[in-house]
Every structure is written in structure tokens, then in C-alpha cells.
């Protein structure tokens, strides 16, 4: 249990963390985004505009100068993040050490893995259009054979999820199918089966199961589980609240989130 005293002022003009289209007004918000998404700290974030914002809006002249020097020296994004964390004291000594080790491990990974992680971070932050583009670029450039088929199967699986989040179920099903065929993971099959009924008629769905030789019992269990999840969500207190009095606000919020997720 602890309380972080906020000593740095709140900015009048925000800084936009471009990969996630999120504006931040405080150094704590910036630290939070970097801590939970270190992969997003790319050139669009770590640049002169960040240094200017830190100086002019937050009044942190020393940190701004330090960041500027690091950027000029082409220091890694991880070391720049750590500089910011140290200035604010965002992490304890032990936490800072652990996080630094994590950043070092991530930084040592192959470029394709880093790009996938970047796409994963975008997807986690609902930036689906951007995530899809990153995954597609990876699939178009499958030069790094040493990463193995499973890596690209995972990319296809994630691309499927991103399309599903955009309600593009036919495309999602296509990528889930490829992921299942190349990676052989049962989870990919489950997702594939979950997506099919969202754009196929019952008859077409049954035809597809026969065509692919998929175990009907397994397919039935997947659909039953999905139905159970939907029933539980529909019966929740939150759903009740939304239906009773919060539907317009909820729909507006979802529309805004969707528009933001398609940005890009």
C-alpha cells in the first residue's frame, strides 16, 4: 500500500501517444502507458515533440535535455523509458531493476518478434486497424525462417482476432483457419469454429464442418460454451444497467471506441 505524491504539474496541452491515439496530460499517465506497453515506445513517440512537451508543458527541463541527448545518441527506447521512470520515481528500486531486465530481454529478440509484440500491444489497446497492418507486413515478409512456422501461425491467429474485433468475421475465420492448419493449436480451431456461425447459415456451417472433417462433438461443445458465455453476459448487472438506462451512452462509447480503433 502506498501513495505516489504528484509533484509535476498537469499539462495544459496534451501529448499524443500516436500508436494508441491517446492523449496524456501528466507524466504519470505517460509512465503508465510505457509501463504496460513498452513495445509502443517507437520513433513516433520518442522524439523531439516529446522532449518539447516534457519541457514546456510539464516544466521538467532537466529531463527534457536528458531525453534529447539520448535520442540524439540513438539510445534504445527502453533506456529512454527508464530515464523517465527514474525522474519521476515511478518504480521502486527492485521494480526498476526487474523492468530493466525485462526491457533488455525484449530488446535482444529478433526484429520480427519485436514487430509482432508491437502489433500485440496495438491490439491490446484496441488499435485494430494499425495492428492488422503490422501483422500483414509480417506475413508478407516471412524471411526469417529461423522463427519457425509456429511464430507465423500465432501472427495469423492474432490477425484473426483483430479482424473479429472489427466485425470482419469472414476474414477472421480465414486467418484462424490458416493458424490452425499451420500451428495445429486447438485454441485456433476453437476460434475458427466460434467465428463461422457469425457469417454462415446453419446449413453452410454444417457443410463446412463436414468439408474440413471437424469433430462435430467438439464443434458442439465450442458452440455450447459460447452460448453460455453470452447468456451470462446478458444476465449480468452491468448488462441490466446498460439496458435500463445506459444504452445511448453505451452505444456512443462503443462507436467512439470503434472509430478510434479504425484510425490509422
Amino acid at each position: 500500500m502506498a501513495y505516489d505524491l504528484c509533484l509535476v504539474r498537469t499539462a495544459v496541452h496534451p501529448f499524443e501517444v500516436k500508436p494508441v491515439c491517446t492523449e496524456v496530460y501528466t507524466i504519470e499517465e505517460l509512465c503508465y502507458i510505457f509501463y504496460h506497453n513498452p513495445d509502443l515506445a517507437d520513433d513516433t513517440v520518442m522524439g523531439a515533440p516529446l522532449c518539447d512537451w516534457v519541457k514546456q508543458e510539464l516544466g521538467l527541463e532537466r529531463l527534457s535535455a536528458s531525453l534529447r541527448s539520448q535520442i540524439m545518441r540513438n539510445d534504445s527506447a527502453g533506456s529512454i523509458i527508464l530515464s523517465i521512470f527514474r525522474e519521476v520515481g515511478y518504480l521502486s528500486g527492485d521494480e526498476l531493476r526487474s523492468f530493466s531486465e525485462l526491457l533488455n530481454r525484449l530488446d535482444a529478440q529478433p526484429q520480427a518478434v519485436k514487430r509482432k509484440r508491437y502489433g500485440d500491444a496495438l491490439a491490446r489497446n484496441r488499435m485494430y486497424a494499425k495492428a492488422a497492418r503490422v501483422y500483414m507486413e509480417l506475413l508478407d515478409d516471412q524471411e526469417n525462417k529461423s522463427l519457425g512456422a509456429q511464430f507465423y501461425a500465432d501472427v495469423r491467429n492474432n490477425l484473426g482476432s483483430v479482424y473479429a474485433a472489427q466485425f470482419r468475421y469472414r476474414e477472421a475465420a480465414g486467418f484462424y483457419y490458416q493458424a490452425w492448419k499451420t500451428g495445429k493449436k486447438r485454441d485456433c480451431l476453437r476460434r475458427y469454429l466460434s467465428t463461422l456461425p457469425l457469417f454462415l447459415s446453419d446449413e453452410a456451417y454444417q457443410e463446412k464442418l463436414k468439408e474440413e472433417g471437424i469433430d462435430t462433438e467438439f464443434a458442439r461443445s465450442v458452440q455450447e460454451r459460447n452460448a453460455q458465455i453470452c447468456r451470462k453476459a446478458g444476465a449480468s448487472a452491468e448488462a441490466e444497467r446498460i439496458l435500463q438506462s445506459g444504452l445511448p451512452d453505451y452505444l456512443k462509447k462503443q462507436r467512439d471506441l470503434w472509430r478510434k480503433s479504425m484510425a490509422g
Partner: protein, 421 residues
């Protein structure tokens, strides 16, 4: 005393006049200012002309000012929260006080340098909620930040005046003697050196009515003798069973012309001083101490309106855990006010600790931040506001500021009133 480019003012507001004492790098000791040399009292009245230009109403200087409206008894009007109509509009008591204090601050405008700060301590005979609200509101409208505004009553100003004189004058008790509304009043400042920190108190020990009605037709010399006798008896009551090393007489009521025997007694083995600006100087000294130009002397003044506990929290400042004071003991509860922003990590409660000065154990106070389901950790930025509603009654307000676009504010504010010793 260290020097500073900041300007520090002590303003003593009284019913019939005001006194202004300032301190600045250009002077060694606080200096009392008036409208003209030798006239240390400022009028308790204002004038306003048709163009809404305000000024002190001093009959001698402004008689030729032309058509103006005079607003007298400013103190009484503010005390009664009376509205007035002037220059074509209605003015609230706060606005009236604002205009009056503007005139006071205008007198020291030449001492203000660019980039320097202005600190003001206002002292009044008795500090009430009405006065504290009006003073803060008026000075904020003039442009002073809240943290530069201080207030205290006359007895507190007496304490600060006394302890800023030579140390040998207050190693024993100090007496304050004033004449107010037909009564001589005696107060004793006592500092308990056995406690840590040392505790200072001022208490009223005696009073003697002394009005013209009591003259009962006596000729002047007989009346002077009677006044002297009454004053002498009064002083005996003030000093009995006490070690008083110094006495301060305020105002111009006391005079050797009629108090010959009393003053001889007063000065026997004691120092005695008479003056007119004790409260405004004391106010100025108090403001100087608040700005840190006088080192802490290790004495806590236990006035009626003083907060007697330290209130704080354990927080992380730049990653290091340390005690963060929210309200320090020794300040007037009307002034006790603190705002800060913090982000809880791993908890949905606010935990504050109060510790009485002197004896007493620390007490932990919990404010539960209910109704924040599923809030991700470290995304709750709180504005914490602390103020007092009485000498021992503290109000804590915590407002959810949200976390930018990451997590919007819930709009909730949590409030708790706590009693501290």
C-alpha cells in the same frame, strides 16, 4: 532574521483604525507605516467617487477631493456582514473589505519588486469564521495566492511580538495590558519550558472596569487618583503569584499624568513598554516566521484557535517513502488548508495520521474510497483537500480526477470529518 526580496505585511484591523507594518530587505526590523510621517494609524473609513475610485477617508487630506461618498466604520460593517450602496451599485462586506485592503497594500507598492512575493498576515481582536472567510476572499480577489494569506487574533499577535523581542524579556512571563471598551484587561504570556516542544499560552488574568461614569462628579485630580488606585489594584492582581519580567501597554490610554503610582509599581524590577503598534508588528513577525526567515524557536503557541496536532501521510515522493505533512500544528485553524494530488498504489483507502504535539499517541484515520469497481491499479488520481471547520475538526475531501483518456473520472468525491486533539 534573514532578509528577502519578498514583501511581508502585518495588518491590524480595529474598529476605529488600522495599522500596517511591513518587512522587506530594505529594513532591519518591521516598520509601521501610515498615511504620513508620524501618523501610524490608518483611517477606518474609505471614500469612493463617481468613477468608483476608492481611497482612505482622512478628513484632513481628502476634504478637498470633491464629491465623494464616505463609507465609515468599515470594521463594523464587515463584522456585521452589512451591504452598502455606493457609486451606483451594491457592495457586499467582502467587497468592501477587498477595497479597504487594496488601499492598504497600495501604500507599500513601491517596495514590491518584479518576481517577489507578497505575504499578508491580518490580525483582528477576535478571529471568527466570518472574518476568516472575508479576509481570504478579499485578499484572493486582490491577487494573493491562498498560501500567502495568514490570519490570527490579537492575543496570537501579542505572542509573536513578545517572542521577537530580546530573549531576556520573555524568559519569564510577559504581561499585556490594554484598555478596550471601558475596561482595562490584563493577559499573561507563559512559556512552559519543561515540555518539548515548549508550549506557550496567553490567558486573561484580570479585568477592571474604568469608565467616565465611575468619575461620579470628582474633580480632575481626585479622578486621576481614583484611576491610579484602580489601576494599581488591577496590576497587583495581574502580577500576584507570577514571575513577570516585562509588561506591554498598548494604546494611548495609560499615562504618567494619572497613573504615577501604578507605573512605578509596574516598572519595579520589571521592564515596561508602551506602544501603539504591538498587534500589527506582532502580525508582521508572525508572517515573517511563516515564510521561514526566522528559524523555528521550538515553541508551540497554544491559542484558542490553534491546531494542536500534526496531520500527515506516508507517501512516496520520487519513489522514496517518507512522511508528508498536510497540516502542521501551531497554525490557526482558519488558515489550515492543504491541497495535493496523489495516486494510490495497491489500496482503495486513504490513510492519514494525526499526532498531538507534546503528549499523546498517533491516531490513524481511514477514508474508504468506495464505488470504484475494476479500476486498474495506479489509475486513480485524487485531489486531496484538507481544511478545518473548528479547532479540532478536520474535513478531508478526496476527488477522483480520473486518469486522462486512459480512465475517465468517476465524478466521485469522498468526504470524511475527523476529530483531532
Amino acid at each position: 532574521m534573514q532578509t528577502s526580496n519578498d514583501l511581508i505585511l502585518g495588518i491590524d484591523l480595529q474598529e476605529d483604525y488600522t495599522q500596517l507594518t511591513y518587512y522587506h530587505a530594505s529594513v532591519k526590523e518591521p516598520v509601521t507605516l501610515g498615511l504620513a510621517p508620524g501618523r501610524g494609524k490608518l483611517p477606518g473609513a474609505l471614500y469612493v467617487d463617481g468613477n468608483r475610485k476608492w481611497g482612505f477617508w482622512d478628513k484632513e487630506q481628502t476634504a478637498a477631493a470633491g464629491e465623494v461618498q464616505v463609507i465609515d466604520h468599515i470594521y463594523a460593517k464587515v463584522d456585521r456582514q452589512e451591504k452598502i450602496t455606493a457609486a451606483g451599485r451594491e457592495w457586499s462586506a467582502e467587497e468592501l473589505l477587498e477595497q479597504y485592503l487594496r488601499q492598504c497594500i497600495e501604500l507599500v507598492r513601491m517596495f514590491r519588486k518584479e518576481g517577489s512575493s507578497l505575504y499578508v498576515m491580518v490580525t483582528v481582536p477576535a478571529l471568527t469564521g466570518v472574518w476568516s472567510g472575508c479576509i481570504v476572499s478579499a485578499l484572493e480577489k486582490i491577487g494573493l495566492p491562498r498560501k500567502n494569506i495568514y490570519m490570527q487574533d490579537h492575543l496570537t499577535s501579542f505572542y509573536y511580538y513578545a517572542v521577537n523581542q530580546k530573549k531576556n524579556t520573555w524568559t519569564q512571563d510577559a504581561a499585556l495590558i490594554e484598555y478596550e471598551k471601558g475596561e482595562i484587561r490584563g493577559y499573561i504570556l507563559h512559556i512552559d519550558s519543561a515540555s518539548r516542544p515548549r508550549l506557550a499560552t496567553v490567558e486573561k488574568v484580570s479585568a477592571q472596569k474604568l469608565t467616565e461614569e465611575m468619575r461620579e462628579g470628582r474633580p480632575q485630580d481626585a479622578w486621576d487618583k481614583e484611576k491610579d488606585r484602580l489601576f494599581f489594584e488591577f496590576l497587583k492582581r495581574v502580577f500576584e503569584h507570577r514571575n513577570v519580567s516585562v509588561s506591554y501597554l498598548t494604546g494611548d490610554f495609560f499615562s504618567k499624568e494619572w497613573a504615577e503610582r501604578s507605573i512605578q509599581y509596574l516598572c519595579y524590577k520589571r521592564q515596561a513598554f508602551q506602544g501603539q503598534n504591538l498587534y500589527s508588528k506582532g502580525a508582521c513577525y508572525a508572517a515573517i516566521e511563516r515564510t521561514g526567515l526566522i528559524p523555528d524557536r521550538g515553541i508551540l503557541f497554544c491559542g484558542n484557535d490553534v491546531v494542536r496536532s500534526n496531520l500527515g501521510m506516508e507517501v512516496r515522493i520520487r519513489g522514496k517513502k517518507q512522511y508528508y505533512p498536510l497540516v502542521n500544528a501551531g497554525i490557526n485553524w482558519y488558515e489550515a488548508y492543504h491541497v495535493c494530488e496523489l495516486i494510490p498504489d495497491g489500496t482503495s483507502n486513504l490513510c492519514l495520521v494525526s499526532k498531538p504535539v507534546g503528549e499523546g499517541e498517533p491516531v490513524t484515520h481511514l477514508l474508504r474510497l468506495d464505488g470504484l469497481k475494476n479500476r486498474p491499479n495506479r489509475t486513480l488520481r485524487l485531489r486531496l483537500t484538507i481544511y478545518f471547520t473548528g479547532a479540532g475538526c478536520c474535513r478531508i475531501e478526496a476527488e477522483d480526477l480520473g486518469f486522462g483518456q486512459i480512465v475517465p473520472s468517476s465524478g466521485k468525491t469522498w468526504v470524511r470529518n475527523i476529530q483531532i486533539a
